[in-house]
C-alpha cells in the first residue's frame, strides 16, 4: 500500500515529535532538520530508522545528507515507495 504525501508528512511529523518533543504541527515541509528543528546527526539517524520501518522504504546513508528539509524527506520517501 502506498502512502500519500499527506500521510507521509503526518507520519514523519509524529516520529520527529516523539524524538524532539516539538508539536507535530511545527514539523512542516519547509522546516530544516538541523536549523529549524535542532536535530543532531544521531537523532536524524533515529528518525531515518523509524521512518524506514513505518513506510517500508530504504533510505540509504548516502541519501540522508540530501534530506535537508522535512519536505525533502517526504519527497524521497514518496518516490522510494515501490
Amino acid at each position: 500500500m502506498a502512502y500519500s504525501e499527506q500521510e507521509i508528512l503526518a507520519g514523519l511529523a509524529e516520529i520527529v515529535s516523539e524524538e524532539t518533543g516539538l508539536p507535530t504541527d511545527s514539523v512542516s515541509p519547509e522546516k530544516s532538520f538541523t536549523d529549524d528543528l535542532d536535530i543532531d546527526s544521531l537523532s536524524m539517524m533515529t528518525i531515518v530508522t523509524l521512518a524506514e520501518e513505518k513506510f517500508s522504504v530504504r533510505i540509504p546513508d548516502d541519501e540522508v545528507k540530501n534530506l535537508a528539509t522535512v519536505g525533502d524527506a517526504v519527497s524521497f520517501i514518496n518516490g522510494a515507495q515501490s
Binding site: 516523539e18 524532539t20 544521531l42 539517524m45 533515529t46
Partner: protein
C-alpha cells in the same frame, strides 16, 4: 581534612516518587512489593511473580523525548537528580568544580535486551542509533553530567549492590582531594525485566513468597527466603562544608567516613567470618574519627537472605562491641526491596534522614526474629533516636565481595 556535607536529597523509589513520600512511607512501614501485573511468570515459567516497582512510573514524570532517549536506569537517576539539585538550592558552582558520580549495578539492561529483540526480529537496520549511549553503564552518570553541566569529572563506579554507596564514597573523595566543591552522587537501577528476574531466581537468591509479596522481604526473620527485586534511584548533593557555608546552604548531615574492602573469598557468598565487612566498618569509623560509643543507628545491607543477614549482624557486633547495645538497627529493604545499584544511595538517604529527623525507620515483616540476631532491630514501628551529636553507619555489600561502609553524622 575537608568536611563533606549533604545539601540536597532526591529519590524515586517503590515507596514514593520523591524523598518526602518515600520517607513518610518508610516511617509508616509500607511495603513497596506487589504482584507483577504481567504474564512473565507464566510465559517464561519464572518462579517469582512479584517485585518492588517504582511508586510513580518514570513516564508519568518525564517528557516523552527523554524517556525515548534514556534507558529507565538513567530516567530514574535524572528524576532523582532534579529533585536533589533543587533541594540543594541549585548551587552556583564553577562547572570545573562540579563533579558527578552515579552508578548502576546492572546497566542499561532494558535497552540491551530490547535491541537484541529488535535485531533478531527485524535485522540490523532497525536497531536504533541511540542504543549504545543508552545501554552503557556510565549512561546515567553521563546524563546527570549533562543535566547539571559538570566538568570536574563524571564517574560510574560499579560494584554490584554496593555501587550506590561506593559512588557516594568516591564523591566524598573528589571533594576531599580538592578536585571538586560540589558532587552529585548516588545510584540507580532498573532491572525489573524477566531476564534478570529469571537469572536471580536461578541463583536462588530471590524470595519466592508469591502468595504474600508485601511480606516477602523479611530481613532477620526466621522465615526469610531471599531478597525482593526493587528499582529506583537515590541521589545526594555533596558539598565541601566551606562551600556550603559560603552560600548559606542548609546542611542535612555529614558524610564523615568512607570504608572500603573486598572479601577476596567468593563471587557471590559473603565471607563467613565477616572480615571484609568488619574491615570496611572499622576503616569508615577511623576515617570519620568516630568512636563506637557515638554510633546510635545502623542501616543494614540486610537483603533478607538466610546467610548474609546474620554475617552482617555479627560483623556490626564485632566492630561496635558492647556499644552495639544502644544501636537501633534498621533493615529498610524490608519495605523498598533491593534496589541493587540504587540501594546504597537510597539507604544513605534513609540514614541521613534518620539522623536529621531522629527517627530510625522500621524493619517490617519480622514476626519471628532469628534467635541468632545479636543486635537490637527496630521492628514494626519507627523508633526515636536520642538528641545531641549522633553517628550512624550505612552498610552496602555486593556480589564480587565488595564492601562499603559510610559513616554519617548529624549536621
Amino acid at each position: 581534612m575537608t568536611d563533606v556535607v549533604v545539601t540536597g536529597l532526591g529519590a524515586t523509589t517503590p515507596l514514593g516518587g520523591d524523598v518526602a513520600s518515600t520517607w513518610s512511607s518508610a516511617l509508616a512501614g509500607v511495603s513497596g512489593a506487589h504482584t507483577l501485573d504481567n504474564d512473565w511468570a507464566d510465559t517464561y515459567e519464572i518462579p517469582v511473580r512479584f517485585a518492588a516497582r517504582l511508586a510513580v512510573p518514570a513516564e508519568d514524570v518525564l517528557p516523552r523525548p527523554e524517556t525515548k532517549r534514556m534507558d529507565p536506569s538513567a530516567q530514574y537517576a535524572i528524576i532523582a537528580t532534579r529533585e536533589a539539585w533543587t533541594h540543594a538550592g541549585a548551587p552556583e558552582v564553577e562547572p570545573e568544580r562540579l563533579g558527578v558520580v552515579v552508578s548502576s549495578g546492572i546497566g542499561g539492561i532494558w535497552t540491551t535486551l530490547d535491541a537484541w529483540d529488535t535485531l533478531q526480529a527485524k535485522g540490523a537496520r532497525r536497531v536504533l542509533p541511540m542504543t549504545v549511549p543508552m545501554l552503557m553503564p556510565n549512561s546515567p552518570a553521563a546524563y546527570v553530567e549533562l543535566e547539571v553541566g559538570a566538568r570536574a569529572g563524571a564517574h560510574a563506579l560499579v560494584s554490584a549492590c554496593a555501587s550506590g554507596a561506593e559512588a557516594i564514597g568516591y564523591g566524598v573523595e573528589m571533594i576531599r582531594s580538592g578536585r571538586a566543591d560540589v558532587v552529585v552522587a548516588g545510584g540507580t537501577e532498573a532491572a525489573i525485566h524477566p531476564m534478570p528476574i529469571a537469572a536471580f531466581a536461578a541463583s536462588r537468591t530471590l524470595s519466592t513468597r508469591n502468595d504474600d509479596p508485601e511480606g516477602a522481604s523479611r530481613p532477620y526473620d526466621t522465615g526469610r527466603d531471599g531478597f525482593v527485586l526493587g528499582e529506583g534511584s537515590g541521589i545526594v548533593v555533596l558539598e565541601s562544608a566551606e562551600h556550603a557555608a559560603a552560600r548559606g546552604a542548609t546542611v542535612h548531615a555529614r558524610i564523615a567516613g568512607v570504608g572500603l574492602s573486598a572479601d577476596g573469598y567468593h563471587m557471590t557468598s559473603p565471607e563467613p567470618s565477616g572480615r571484609g565487612q568488619i574491615a570496611a566498618m572499622r576503616m569508615a569509623l577511623r576515617d570519620a574519627d568516630v568512636a563506637a560509643v557515638d554510633v546510635h543507628h545502623v542501616n543494614a545491607h540486610a537483603t533478607s537472605t538466610v546467610v548474609g543477614d546474620l554475617i552482617e549482624a555479627r560483623s556490626v557486633r564485632e566492630v561496635l562491641g558492647s556499644d552495639a547495645d544502644h544501636v537501633a538497627l534498621s533493615a529498610t529493604k524490608s519495605m523498598t526491596g533491593h534496589l541493587l545499584g540504587g540501594a546504597g544511595a537510597l539507604e544513605t538517604i534513609f540514614t541521613i534522614l534518620a539522623l536529621r529527623e531522629r527517627q530510625a525507620p522500621p524493619t517490617i515483616n519480622v514476626t519471628d526474629p532469628d534467635p541468632e540476631l545479636v543486635l537490637d532491630l527496630v521492628r514494626g514501628q519507627s523508633r526515636a533516636l536520642p538528641g545531641g551529636p549522633l553517628a550512624a553507619i550505612n552498610n552496602s555489600f555486593g556480589f564480587g565481595g565488595h564492601n562499603v561502609a559510610l559513616v554519617v553524622t548529624t549536621a
